[in-house]
Assembly symmetry: none
Homo-oligomer: 77 residues x 5
């Protein structure tokens, strides 16, 4: 029965990693697209927007990176 | 039969971590993109908007972080 | 059969915690983003908007926090 | 029972790779389409927008690439 | 039991290839439609937009192509 546990390990890691990828890409895509929209409308405040974009990307990626860590923990534990 | 329980543990942790990642990224993405939109429209109130953004990100991440804690509890309990 | 019950415990807690995270993040994200939009359009009423935002966030997080409590109860009961 | 584990391996790798592809394509699609929109509206700031686009694409692809790595790890581990 | 593993192989390859196709089509569709929109609004910058479109399509297809590679690996491994 130990192989059953092994099998679910793979499935679990893929769900965690896949959802984390989906999450980070959707969140980052939204933020970066708004940054580009703002830069096109007001080119003079491009630096300010880009700085806030990096803060935002960092905040968004915090939880998906934790989910990737959970995926690796599941695989190698 | 104890291995069955082990197997579901991995699956459960991945669901909790994956959904938490999805949640945090979607919520943060929405808030930060609106902040950027507001900063592009009114650059003079950028500091005020960025401060509210950090409050908002903190409020949004509260429940996903709890879900990550549940994921770790499931893995190591 | 007792181990099967144990297995479903983990799965149930993860679904409750994950969906609670998703719910709170989506709800808060919508409310806080509209607050930011309103603050950018009318900076003079920023304090009023931020106060209402906190009431809204509190009301939104009530049920997800209860779901997290249900997740902990499932795990430790 | 070892073949069951093998079977789930394939399923897991496909879920991780598929969700990563979905994530990267949706995120990149949003960012690049906004870049094109901005370039059509303000052709003079096209270089600035394209540079930010490349930064954004790099940031978005970070977590999906990690999910692809998880998929390969699952297949060849 | 070896036929079970064979069966899951086909299922897994189809999920990976299907999600990759969905991903690439949605991402490319968004980008190319925006290119056409921009070219209709500003016909004089059509060449510039078309060049950025090709870069964008290349960037979007990177991860789905990797998912297709995973699908072939699953089938022929």
């Amino acid at each position: 029965m130990s192989f059953m546990s092994e099998a679910f390990k793979y499935l679990a890691a893929s769900i965690a990693a896949g959802l984390a990828a989906l999450a980070a890409a959707l969140g980052n895509g939204k933020v970066i697209s708004k940054t580009l929209e703002g830069m096109a409308r007001q080119p003079e405040s491009a630096d300010n927007l880009r700085a806030t974009m990096f803060i935002g990307v960092g905040l968004i990626e915090a939880v998906p990176i934790l989910a990737i860590v959970v995926a690796f923990l599941i695989l190698f534990l």
